[in-house]
């Protein structure tokens, strides 16, 4: 599985070219989801060559502590707002209080004369800037929306930044910002979902329609002997990373220097460059540590405001976005209204699968909450009608939040499946097994690797699942009603193009890997070192990884659970390139000299003949004999193509035990088991943490989370961590996680990604457990106690 045709040096150029060459293609969604029936001819499927790395014993999967652990536990890791620049000013933002209209007057006189104030910037004096390109709308877009930033008097949402104050201290800036008086001319706005739905359109996500139609699902539902037809709703959610968004900015000569919290460095640099009409290389963004991202640490207006204010004032700017400011300016998950209708024969085989619904978005982004993704893959059904319709509202940009779409989509689908199982008097796991597809139900492709059945088998044993046939097994323990539930998890395998890295072997035989990857808690440096050590046949301790800087090679967005896959493909390409270079420096006449990368392999801290591994020479000796201090290559990852041929997705089975207080109906979770099928697990320790983290956020989604959007004004009401509830330690039980660990034969290193799948499944498993305990189906999230009282 070596492919040299995409190798190239000077990766910063090839990377830009790669990005400019075509739209960002979402690996799994780039396929055509509209096919009416399975069509792929299996005879055309190329032969699979397993990545030899997967077969080698040792390092992959070994639990390893995070490399940045000592720094983080000592408080020594520096985040965006912790870089001090000389002559730095502090910024405070003013947000709009109307949903749509224009600013008719700004009175900033008191603010300008307030002590310590350096600058008041509004649309009246902001530099002229281009509109930022939204993520997925263009190949390099990174922005939450395409709204121009302080370029005119228009107001597009309640909470839009409309003025910024720079002052010598944060206290002075905050005080002055409160003195700015704004007068508005309000326009008619659409802030009610019910009103917005009147203006519906079919939605797209990643350039594809969010629609699958197979046969006549409505007729099949009508004719099915057993059916359910239920409606769901889910509210808005916010990421609530504990680190609020922040950036520290300075113009240094012709370079815009930004210390940021960011999960898409290269895209951010490219987008900001266009806004200011400069070259991408002139925007230097770094983010060595990011205090949580979950899809929300992308490019928002505050970046551009800070950079513009720094330009206008001629001074560096520290922009600490307040917690309220994060809620006003940085989007979250859109709400949904969903219908799931399932028709089955008496044996539980699905005849009709209908999953449709509405979600709001803004006109200025390319993001529609794709809540049908799991439904397109999980189960076979003779007919299907699966569709999302989006409605435009005047509101803060909706955006990507951990497991976009599927987090709330699986809630609906998987509680509906539970309901169907009950009606069929079939165990809910058995119902899933009876609808296990042979090929991808939406496009007919063969599964690259699918282990949902294994996940259920492992999970049922670990959890002690008691099969049921339509009856509730809930019991009473003292004042608590106790029940158990189960649900499937699903997440697509994404793999964005643009991965690149610079790799150096030094005279002491050590390896340096440099790439623009991100560390927002995933353990990227550790996992990269694990992959590189294995690939280059070197000790883990001898690999250094540098990341978190836009000047480093490659685009490795930490989204879609794909960064690790991207890094895996990049290290593979770098390995191939390095072998070629090493073959070149091998002395003439030695067995390795002039061989191609297919003839050589990297093992035992050196290269060896692929066919005769005992014919080996160490890196140290190679470099010494060539008289080199170091050898460096840059390589671009091969364009990901596996998903064009294979159905590549991750699956899981989640089990939950719920306790509902008999008097007050308070809901507590006492046990969870999650088993995931995500290909090969590269670091058992950090992967387990990712799984648990997603489960906890999914439980939060089920039990308590809601961004309260006041439809009268389009304003978010609970813009606070005190009133936006997320799980605290006492809400979180010990969580049992496991994985099938079956390598995906078509993913480099065999890994598909682990960051998001556990955000799915746990919420539905909990809801099903609540039903088992109480006999109540709650279809409107969150499952608060009042909904269990009626």
């Amino acid at each position: 599985m070596t492919d040299s045709k995409n190798l190239g040096k000077g990766s910063s150029i090839t990377r830009r070219e790669a990005l400019a060459g075509g739209a960002i293609v979402l690996g799994a969604i780039a396929t055509k989801p509209l096919s009416a029936a399975p069509t792929t001819s299996h005879s055309t499927v190329p032969k699979t060559v397993l990545d030899p790395l997967i077969e080698r014993p040792g390092q992959l999967g070994t639990p390893r502590s995070r490399r940045d652990g000592p720094l983080k536990v000592k408080g020594g890791a520096r985040y965006a707002a912790e870089h001090h620049l000389k002559d730095m000013t502090y910024a405070a933002l003013v947000f709009s209080t109307i949903a749509r209209g224009s600013i008719s007057e700004i009175d900033s006189r008191d603010a300008e004369t307030s002590p310590g104030v350096v600058l008041v910037m509004t649309h009246l004096n902001a530099p002229r800037m281009g509109a930022p390109e939204p993520f997925l709308a263009t190949p390099t877009g990174a922005s939450g929306s395409s709204h121009p930033v302080m370029q005119d008097a228009e107001v597009f949402w309640n909470g839009q930044p409309i003025a910024v104050v720079l002052a010598e201290t944060q206290e002075q800036a905050d005080r002055a910002a409160r003195l700015i008086q704004i007068t508005y001319q309000a326009k008619t706005s659409v802030t009610r979902f019910s009103e917005a739905k009147q203006l519906e359109t079919v939605a797209t996500f990643g350039g594809e329609k969010l629609q699958t139609v197979r046969g006549d699902a409505d007729a099949a539902l009508e004719a099915a002997p057993v059916k359910i037809d239920v409606s769901f709703s889910s509210p808005r959610h916010n990421h609530n990373q504990i680190e609020p968004h922040a950036v520290t900015v300075a113009w240094q000569g012709k370079t815009l220097r930004m210390y940021d919290c960011n999960q898409g460095l290269s895209l951010t640099a490219a987008t900001i460059a266009k806004v200011f009409g400069i070259e991408p290389a002139q925007v230097h963004v770094s983010a060595e540590f990011v205090g949580g991202s979950f899809g929300g640490k992308t490019l928002w207006q505050y970046h551009i405001v800070a950079a513009a204010a720094a330009k206008l004032s001629g001074r560096p700017v520290r922009m600490n976005v307040t917690r309220e400011g994060v809620f006003r300016m940085c989007g979250g998950r859109a709400p949904t209204e969903q219908r799931v209708a399932l028709g089955a024969d008496k044996d539980g085989r699905l005849k009709a699968l209908i999953h449709t619904g509405f979600t709001p978005k803004i006109q200025q982004n390319a993001m529609t909450e794709p809540f049908i993704e799991a439904t397109q893959r999980l189960y076979s059904s003779e007919t299907a009608r699966i569709e999302v319709r989006a409605a435009h509202m005047d509101m803060l940009s909706n955006t990507f939040m951990r497991a976009p779409g599927s987090a709330v989509g699986t809630y609906a689908l998987e509680t509906a499946m539970d309901e169907l199982a009950e009606k069929l008097t079939i165990d809910p796991i058995e119902l899933r097994l009876r609808n296990e597809p042979d090929v991808d139900p939406t496009n007919g492709k063969r599964f690259s690797q699918r282990g949902l059945v294994q996940a259920y088998q492992m999970g049922a044993e670990r959890f002690g699942w008691i099969p049921r046939k339509g009856q509730r097994l809930g019991r009473r323990e003292g004042e608590w009603l106790v029940g158990t539930g189960v649900a499937s998890a699903y997440y697509p395998h994404y793999h964005f193009p643009g991965g690149a890295a610079r790799v150096t072997i030094t005279a002491d035989g050590k390896l340096l890997v440099e790439l623009a990857a991100h560390e927002q808690g995933v353990g990227a440096a550790t996992t990269t070192a694990i992959i590189a050590a294995k690939r280059f046949g070197i000790d883990f301790e001898d690999v250094e990884v540098r990341y978190g800087d836009s000047l480093l090679p490659g685009s490795h967005p930490a989204g879609g659970s794909q960064q690790t896959a991207s890094i895996g493909a990049t290290i593979l390409a770098a390995n191939t390139a390095m072998i070629a270079e090493l073959a070149k420096i091998a002395p003439q006449g030695t067995p390795w000299a002039g061989l191609s990368s297919t003839g050589l392999t990297t093992v035992r801290a050196g290269i060896a003949l692929t066919e005769r591994p005992s014919v080996h020479i160490g890196y140290k000796e190679l470099l010494a004999r060539a008289g080199l201090q170091a050898i460096t290559i840059e390589a671009d990852a091969a364009t990901p193509t596996a998903a064009e041929t294979w159905s590549m997705h991750s699956y899981g089975a989640v089990f939950c035990e719920a306790r509902v207080n008999a008097d007050t109906r308070e809901l507590r979770v006492s046990r969870v088991t999650g088993v995931y099928d995500c290909g090969k697990i590269l670091n058992a320790k950090t992967a387990a943490s990712q799984f648990r983290g997603g489960i906890i956020m999914s439980l939060g989604l089920a039990m308590m989370e809601e961004t309260q959007f006041d439809e009268r004004t389009g304003r978010i009401i609970n813009a606070s961590m005190a009133e936006y509830h997320m799980p605290v330690h006492l809400d979180v039980p010990l969580i049992d996680v496991a994985w099938t660990d079956i390598p995906d034969p078509h993913a480099p290193t065999g890994a598909r990604g682990v960051g998001e799948i556990s955000m799915n499944g746990a919420s539905a498993a909990l809801a099903n457990a609540v039903y088992d305990a109480t006999g109540k189906r709650v279809r409107d999230l969150p499952i608060t106690l009042d909904k269990l009282m009626v």
Partner: protein, 328 residues
Amino acid sequence: MELFTYERAHNPEAAVIAGAPSRAKFLGGGTNLVDLMREGIERPSALVDVTGLSQTIVETAEGGLLIGAAASNAAVAEHRLVRNRYPALSRAILAGASAQIRNMATVGGNILQRTRCRYFYDVNGARCNKRDPGQGCDAIGGFNRYHAVLGTSSHCIATHPSDMCIPLVAFDAIVHLAANGGSRSIKLAELHRDPGDTPQIETALDPGELITAIELPPLALARRSAYRKVRDRASYAFALISVAAALHVDDNRVTDVRLALGGVAHKPWRALIAERALVGQPATYDTFLAAARAELRAAQTQRDNAFKPELAARTIAAVLRTLAEEQA
């Protein structure tokens, strides 16, 4: 935050002199006031730090307890005599906020904390009669899950967020006050008020008046007291409703009872209707529930809090049932 002067008071006399100017404020642990200042809701010109005043917890001559207003919430909850004699008070404090906040917050500050109504907090984006009298109330018709159902008015439906105050009103606590002109004592139950048409006036305190201590009268009944807080997550959240209760049962009949509710009103709500209905009645769940429902009969609910009267009634009945079982 507006600029202010800061000084520390070393005794109550100096505090009330420093606190006399109209825009002066007493500062306790800061857990509420500093936040309100940062939000632009409170704009004092002077802060008088009273955390150095009395933090002592001592037994009174009558056998009650006198708690200095500067005592931290944590110190009160942990105190042996409080745990033994007024367990509901310990429980209520421990159910409130977080360990860090309980270490900071003072007794005086807890009593005078202001509502967490989000419309009250949204200085620029929402109307609030409490913040700007006459402006209107956006909580009515908005998100009001946490809002009041008893004693509300068309001007305000905010709740008082304290846990600590709920058992205190149930136990007839007395508040000791000092002012430039002298000192006085009032019942805690008379300190907070219903919103009426002046929700901006939250207490019976005169301008510049300082809480110096809280006094718990001797109350044997309180030894068998409990506090139950119902909230949207397991910890670190304000109450949807809470119940402080003390009960004495003799020969399966209620001989004495104290009941107060949190999360239902603009003030800690003493449930006198239920108390009267219970005395002399059989100590059964049905009696408890009926009395609780009688207390909640006057409830007026909003869009999001229609569940509260029933939740309150069930919780009261459950707490009383537990207390009765412990005496059976």
